[in-house]
Every structure is written in C-alpha cells, then in structure tokens.
Subunit: 385 residues, 2 copies
C-alpha cells in the first residue's frame, strides 16, 4: 500500500514538474547571493546588455567597514558579479541598480517591503543573524486578524504572535504591544522586524518569557496594510496611511485594541503583564499610551522615538503621575547618528529633572531596521521577569 501511494505521488510529481512551466515564468540561472564559508558574499546578475550594474545594500564587514554600493563587473561567463568581504552576522538588504534602474535580484525570492521600497534580504549566520533566522526550535503561531474599533468606527487588521504551546495549552500569557513607525503598518514588525523569529529563538534559549506580541496598525485613518483593505492595491506612501480622516487618534483608540486582545486571547490582564513599545512614530505612540493609560503598563520601550514635552503642562503632569504610579521599566533606545538623537537627549534631560526613572541604550547607527531588531532582541528579555 505504502509503495503504491508513493508511486502514485511520484508519477504525479514528475508530470507536474515536467510541465509546470505552463504556470511559471523562466527562472534565473545564476546563484545570487552566494554566501561563502567565510561570510563574504558574491552577487550575480545576468544582464548582458547592461552598461553598468551596481549592488546597493547596507553591508557591514567584520572589520567594521560600512559598504553601500559596489560596482559589478562582467565575469568570464558574461554575468555581472561583485563580492563584498566577510560580513558581520546580521540581516542585510540590497537591490541592484541596472543602468540606474533599481531592481530586485531575480535569483533571490526573499523580499521585504519598507513603505514603497521592495528589497532583497539575506542573513549572515553566527551571532545576531542566528536570532533573526528560523532555527529548529518550537515555533509560535502568527495570525492576521481583525478587530473592531468603536473609537475609530472601523474594523482594523492586527498581527498577533502567540508563543509555541499557546494553541494546545491553557496557560495565560503576558502581552507586548509592539508599534511600527510612520510609513509602516501591521506587517512591518513581523516582516522587517523578524518578530516571530526573534521571539521563537529567545524563548527557546530561555532568555525571554513566552509572551503574546500584538502588532497593531498605528495609522488611525487606515484599516489595514496596503492591499489588505478595501482601499485596494494602492501605492504605499509615508504619512498616516492615506485613509479617511480618522475620528480619533490611534492612542485614543488603543483601549479598543486592549479590549479585543484581552477578550479573545488567554492573557494575564494585569499591569505587570503588559508592555508597550514602538519605533519612531510607534515610540511616540508608546510614550503617549503609557502616560495616558497610567496604571496599565509596567514596561515601556521607546525605540528611536522622541517625545517633545516643551512647556506642555498636560504632558508634564501626566509623566509625573506615571512616575508616581510606578512601573518596572521605561527603556529608551536610540542610535548615535539617528536624526532624533539630540531630541532623545533633551527628552531624557526632562525626565531627569522630574526624577522619572528610565534606562537608556545607545547604539551605533541611525533610524534603521537593523537597530529596531537589535532593540527588540534586547528589550524582550527584560520583560515580565
């Protein structure tokens, strides 16, 4: 019986494989990127008519050199080729510039979208990259779900990570609400941010408590990521999502998110089991949400964010109330070349002036996903301990 089944399948497969070109286009026949054993990387493109081809990416070598553009050269097989020296363990993104036209590598199907930019990715294993790649560990589930927001008067899409064991178990879990920046949406953290891989790996290593991660859409005028709502396949753009003028701010609607999560998931509905963190605009959201829902979150993370306080008395008073109510961690992280670096220093100066306790993590680099993945990898282990 087993033999026959196997045979039947094998025959079907062979037939399908032989003829599947009916459904497929032609495929690239070069290997790119090729990651060598020493973590140097070779990129290749078959484009015999092109005059100039450049690989443009965000590479950092083990020697600490940043490489942005490398001109490719035609090799003996008439294939454009360029290599970069051994790279640090990291998730990298790149495109090709073919006579000035920015394209994805036709030989690499792994692609991320950041606002309206589409780029290839690859991972260099060994250190940080090992946290971002899929390893042979128990995996959580990721769902795209919809909740109703009475405050905004619309249904809204949300991405939710539940840790391994959630589906078949009965335990209740703490919740991290993880918010994206301007131009992002509910797809940003799970794709660009590698949230499920980071959480799977840190939980498996015992470095991080099993938790639910709720990745909202922070654009109050938008129901869902581009292409995922009735707004259709519009070209993504920066700003508040191009939806109708919202009835309220995202922060004002945040109670709807909490209510949905705490009604539909097995969560520990207590301050000590709730965290809110976000990057850039999402850091601003986390700042506002944590101070205006002051007895709700014991953990707050502001990644490359910056809150402007100025002489705004209401903000000042809400922060003092938040300080007096107490919390376990207020974590501020910023890169030293981020355009919000100075604003973060000013923000912390104000926090110091009112004895508002916080921890500060300064990294290299600017307003980039590399930093936000690092911040999540460092922030998550501090939660719910």
């Amino acid at each position: 019986m087993k033999k026959l089944l196997t045979l039947a399948v094998a025959v079907l497969c062979m037939i399908s494989a032989a003829f599947a070109q009916q459904a497929l286009g032609s495929r690239a026949n070069v290997k790119s990127p090729e990651i060598h054993p020493d973590n140097s990387v070779t990129f290749r493109l078959k484009a015999p008519e092109a005059k100039k081809v450049v690989v443009t990416g965000d590479f950092t070598t083990t020697a600490g050199e940043d490489i942005r553009n490398v001109e490719m050269k035609l090799n003996a097989d008439n294939i454009w080729e360029a290599s970069v020296p051994a790279l640090r363990s990291e998730l990298y993104s790149y495109n090709f510039l073919v006579d000035g036209v920015k394209i994805c590598d036709p030989a690499n199907v792994y692609i991320n979208r950041d606002v309206a930019s589409v780029m290839n990715i690859f991972i260099i294993n060994g250190d940080r990259g090992d946290i971002y790649k899929v390893n042979d560990v128990p995996h959580g589930s990721v769902r795209r779900a919809w909740y109703n927001s009475p405050t905004l008067g619309i249904d809204r899409r949300v991405t939710i990570y539940t840790p391994a064991g959630y589906e078949s178990g009965k335990d209740k879990y703490p919740v991290l609400y993880l918010l994206h920046g301007a131009g992002g949406d509910e797809e940003a953290w799970i794709t660009l941010g590698r949230t499920s891989q980071i959480l799977d790996n840190l939980i498996a290593q015992g470095k991080c408590k099993p938790m639910i991660v709720v990745m909202t859409n922070g654009n109050a005028g938008q129901q869902a990521a581009p292409g995922e709502s009735a707004a259709g396949m519009t070209q993504p753009a920066m700003g508040m999502g191009g939806g109708a003028r919202p009835k309220a701010s995202f922060e004002q609607s945040f109670g709807d998110v909490i209510k949905y999560v705490e009604s539909n998931y097995r969560v520990i509905a207590k301050k000590e089991a709730r965290a809110v963190a976000g990057l850039s605009m999402g850091g601003g959201h986390s700042f506002n949400i944590s101070r205006t829902y002051p007895k709700t979150f014991d953990y707050v993370g502001l990644f490359s964010a910056a809150a402007r306080i100025g002489d705004n008395v209401e903000i000042q008073e809400s922060l003092k109330a938040q300080r007096d109510n107490g919390f376990k961690l207020y974590w501020i992280a910023c890169g030293n070349t981020d355009f919000l670096y100075k604003a973060n220093l000013d923000f912390m100066k104000y926090l110091d002036s009112i004895n508002f306790p916080y921890k500060y993590r300064e990294s290299d680099g600017g307003h980039i996903w590399r930093n936000w993945r690092i911040y999540l990898s460092e922030f998550a282990p501090m939660l719910f301990q």
Copy 2:
C-alpha cells in the same frame, strides 16, 4: 487632551516622514500599472538606458484576446510605456523584460511568488476580480501555525483560515483541507490562490457556508515553505521540497493534520463536515487521501489533477469501496488546454466504468492559477450545504 495628543502625533509623523529616507531607498516616480476607467491598463518604467523593454503577462481582453507580451515605447517624458486594451475582470500577473532581464515593476509593491518566479499582480474589478480583492466585508483570520507529524517525525507549518466570527464565537465549523501543487507549499493557496479573499467574499454574499480552510505543506520532506524553516533561505525549486528523504508520504501523514486540526480548532469532526481538494499534485493527494480515508470526507475536489489507475487493483478496489461508502460530491475540474486534460478524460472513463458518481467542470485554459482560483470560487459554495 485630544488636541494635544493629535498634535504630538502629528509632530512625530512629520519628523519621521521628513527623515525616513534614512531607512528607505529611493522610490519609483512613475505610476504603474495605471488602471483606466475602461479597464485598459498602462504600464510604465523609467529606464532611460534600456534598448528594449517588454511587459510580459497573462492578460485577457474583454474581446477574449490573450495578450502575453507587449513591447513598450519611450514616451515624451523618456519613460517606457505600453498599454493593453480593456481587460476582463481578473487577477493578472506580469513582469518587465528589460533588455532580456526579467524584473518586477519597481512602481508596484504587490508581488506573488510562484516557485522561484516573483511577479507583480493587479486586479481588474467588476466580476471575478471582485471575488479576489479585499472588500469591505467581515474578514476571517489567517494564521501560520505549526503542528507535529509523528508519521513524518517533524514539526510542520500550516496556514489556516478561520472565518469571521470564529475568534469571538463558540460555534463549530466544517473544514476544507486545501492542497497545493508541486513547487508550492503552505503559502501557495493563501497568496496565489487568494483563499482568504475568496472565502471572505463568498461567505459575506451568503454564497458559501462559513468554514475553516486548512492549507498544508504537501511536500513530505519539507517542514515549511522556503525561508520559513531551519533549512534557511534556499532558492525554491520544483519537486518534493528539497528536504530530507521523508519517512512516509504526505498522504500517509495526513491523519496527523486532521488530528491537529480537530484537537486545536472548533470543528465539526464528521464526514459531512470535511472536504479535501487540491490542485495538480495536491489533486493527486486529494484523490489518494479521499479513497484511503474512505469514511472521512463527504466532499472531494480534484483541480487540474489526474489519477492514473491503469491496472492497479488496489486503487481500483479502494475507489469501489469509496463509491460504496458514499459521499456527497466528487468534483473534477480541468482546463481544456491543460497537459492533464486527456488524462482527466481517461480517469473519468474509468470512474464511469465502475459507476463512480462525480461532477465534471471543464474550463478554458491550462495548468494555471487563474483556473485554480476559479475552481475554488465554484467548489467552496457547493460544500456543506
């Protein structure tokens, strides 16, 4: 308070928007594809150095003409441009060939992967396209989860659609197991097949019963789609998934899938509430699964599949047993230019010879996703009635 929050958010957004280029590449500044009110479509590409640019797609005009390649011309603004006449309502895919290099349209972020081919998509509304696009209707959830397969000795990834109302309700639902073809994986039906959109729309229109749809990975040697397992970001290829030699066939492991679903989801665990269907290799799987688990499924769908029976007595006997056990629907669908068309006719000749009841749906076209979306749209409404 509301004003202040809004102001704070607005300031953060403006800052983020102004400087977000730190994290972003440059964006295309042409509109492509532009869908005109009459459903003609214009494609554009800025590639001033290129010698020849062609748009290659799977277009069908309202007049019934199939268009595969259209040479683009430089317009007055030095942008390559081509238009196709009014298209039938459908989901279309396309690429650009720039001096022979197949690329995605840099101005269109909507992309599907089919095995190792990456292509842009767009939808022409009005008829079939309205079933494939996201409409303003209640939306189901889609989760990527993992189950253990003792038969195969590995954890495996699965995509599961639960209809609107599932998460917050208590009802039990029937289940459609929906299987992909060779070269596909648990991402195929949800992306190329538009399963969640088709189900959301048909359920909202009252044409289809709310149901759970389980989209497995049918490559027994593979844990998950390329990039989603510890096998890493390998280049996808046709065949059984490139994993280790499996311990058993996918069909032999199918009991593990049913057990996982029926243990972890609110399902009606009865023959009359189970359907199994698949395309190509997944149709072969459905054929084998439905006859070897004979009292399990009341609904079977074979899309562009073909079972070879020949003089295999065991297959013949299992089909007679399946016939005698009874079922509600055995639905065979094939395109009249499919390479398996003749094999399907032969298969049905055999079924006729043993008085095995089935329904046959013949469509235009070949072994292509357009047909499989149509078949799903027609098959789902017949289930669980």
